[in-house]
């Protein structure tokens, strides 16, 4: 009988990524509904000492495969290790981050196990009657949501979009079991040779982690148009993001684009400046806690989505708003 919910850890250069904890949090909810346990699978080199942290976030067990061939991510050793674990421990559900690693290894594993895999999920739930995992995901650039099930094959597997599930709380007193697993990996499993690891020169900002996003679109008018937005974002302790037009026009770097596949943001405040709101963009930010739009066109889709839409010229409003916040903060301090 397949049981328990397995979470595959996403680590890059030995650093466990935030999506892992989000997955543990979500798995904990599902485990409660099923009366099963959360088991976390940690793969890497020299990584065992991080298992304790995973327990503090909610893992009942951590299965560790600590092997030199897992130092840098390549498909085959990771796929082989996960496949080995699935065969040996027969999980009911396996969750991966929908990252460039998760989306590479999960389909490979699904093919090897012969089971279903649902990509880039934004919602997971257990059907109270059938106990099946209901996997909900956007398609058509976020225009349609589809709920998918895997009835006949096990484990049920999904990749889950980063930034969507809530972070669980860490509890240092939590206890759990750490199990070393020998998945039989050898150097021969490296069927791809890593010639060079290229770090991004620019510090890559992860807009999905920002609490406040000040986002610019066509209305900012050019690269210099983002400068007042940067000042406002700095004042709010947030980051600047952009619609597609700003990126395609070369006004701002691509890592700041909202609404690309997999780049969903849900900050506490999304301030849309001169963004009319193409559907891909809206799909990427509509779950933001509070949306303020500044736009000259009151009929555009972004103004309809916004909690507060202000019709006006962002070039006049944004600098004044930055100043008003600075003034307000100064007054609060007194």
């Amino acid at each position: 009988m397949n049981k328990d919910i397995f979470v595959i850890v996403e680590q890059r250069a030995g650093h466990i990524q935030k999506v892992t904890y989000e997955l543990i949090g979500e798995a904990t909810k599902l485990a409660k509904d099923l009366g099963e346990e959360v088991v976390v699978v940690l793969l890497g080199k020299g990584i065992t000492d991080q298992a304790q942290t995973l327990i503090q976030y909610g893992a009942a067990k951590v299965l560790v495969v600590d092997n030199p061939v897992l130092e840098h991510y390549t498909t085959e050793p990771y796929a082989k290790a996960i496949h080995y674990i699935i065969k040996k421990f027969t999980p009911n559900i396996v969750l991966y981050g929908a990252s460039s690693i998760g989306r590479d290894v999960a389909p490979r594993v699904a093919g090897r196990v012969h089971t279903g895999l649902t990509a880039d999920c934004t919602g997971l739930a257990i059907d109270p009657e059938t106990k099946l995992l209901m996997m909900t995901r956007p398609a058509f650039g976020g225009n349609i949501m589809a709920t998918i099930v895997c009835r006949k094959y096990r484990p049920q597997m999904a990749t889950v979009r980063p930034g969507v599930m809530a972070m669980p709380t860490k509890d240092a007193s939590r206890k759990g079991e750490i199990i070393q697993v020998d998945a039989g990996l050898t150097k021969a499993d490296m069927n791809v040779e890593i010639m060079e690891v290229v770090k991004s020169k620019q510090k890559v900002v992860d807009i999905t982690e920002a609490k406040v996003l000040v986002s610019g679109g066509r209305g900012v008018g050019g690269p210099e148009g983002y400068e007042p937005l940067r000042k406002l974002a700095a004042q709010l302790g947030g980051e600047v993001s952009s619609s597609r037009i700003g990126v395609d026009s070369g006004w701002i770097e691509k890592s700041r684009q909202v609404g690309q596949t997999g780049k969903t943001v849900r900050p506490n405040l999304y301030l849309a400046c001169g963004i009319s709101g193409a559907i891909q963009h809206l799909a990427g930010m509509e779950d933001s806690e509070f949306i303020v739009a500044i736009n000259k066109d009151e009929t555009c889709p972004m103004m309809k989505l916004a909690d507060l839409g202000v019709v006006g010229d962002l070039k006049l409003i944004v600098p004044k708003l930055t100043q008003a916040i600075a003034d307000y903060r100064a007054k609060q301090k007194v």
Partner: protein, 262 residues
Amino acid sequence: MKIIVCIKQVPDTAEVKLDPKTNTLIRDGVPSIINHDDKAGLETALKLRETRGGTVTVVCMGPPQADVALREALAMGADEAYLLSAREFGGSDTYATATIIATALKKIGFDLVITGRQAIDGDTAQVGPQIAEQLGIPQVSYVEEARVEGNDVIVKRQFEDSAHILKVKMPCLITALAELAQPRYMNVGKIVDAYQKEIKVIGFDDLKTSLNPDWIGINGSPTNVVKSFTKQAKVAGTLMKDLTPDQAVAAIMDKLIERHII
């Protein structure tokens, strides 16, 4: 060198609009295109052929009208085209699709397989890796640069915060990012040729000796869609107009304070 490029015909999702009254997709009149990532993969294959010689074969699974996508690929310069089309293939999920395509690729033969990273309608990024798994060959996905040296493919593989330069022996499969190459336009002479060339159709009967019918189509797919829906429209927010900039700032400040954002 024999390169196979897998392409998918997709609706141009950038052109899809929502019906404001019913909140459903308006699909009528939405043009069909070759998926962007796949087209970049095709361009790369054509460039590799220019430097290395060999042939470029395009393969597309879909309904008979997907023929148009294959003709476009031929007009860009592909040597031959296969359409995988059968009633039995309909409703396949990624696993079943990869099973069908991998079976056909074994029959056609290849040194290098290129797929797009993902299709803009489904966005799964699963079919490429699943084809590689079923073919039992190495894969590199998220490729933004590629060249061939001897029997090796050297690629730059993108991650969120870094990239790897990887060397992989053929036969192998790579999945292309749209950034990999800017697709060329169709050549006028080749457009004419493209409509004279034969598109070879591979149906269920052509593959049935090596294809388990229980593993394909809607019934053979491990996953099934049980429900699809458009997102509920949110409750309308507040719209404020005819304000001076100072009044606008005051209105925003009120909300930011009320919501404890500042």
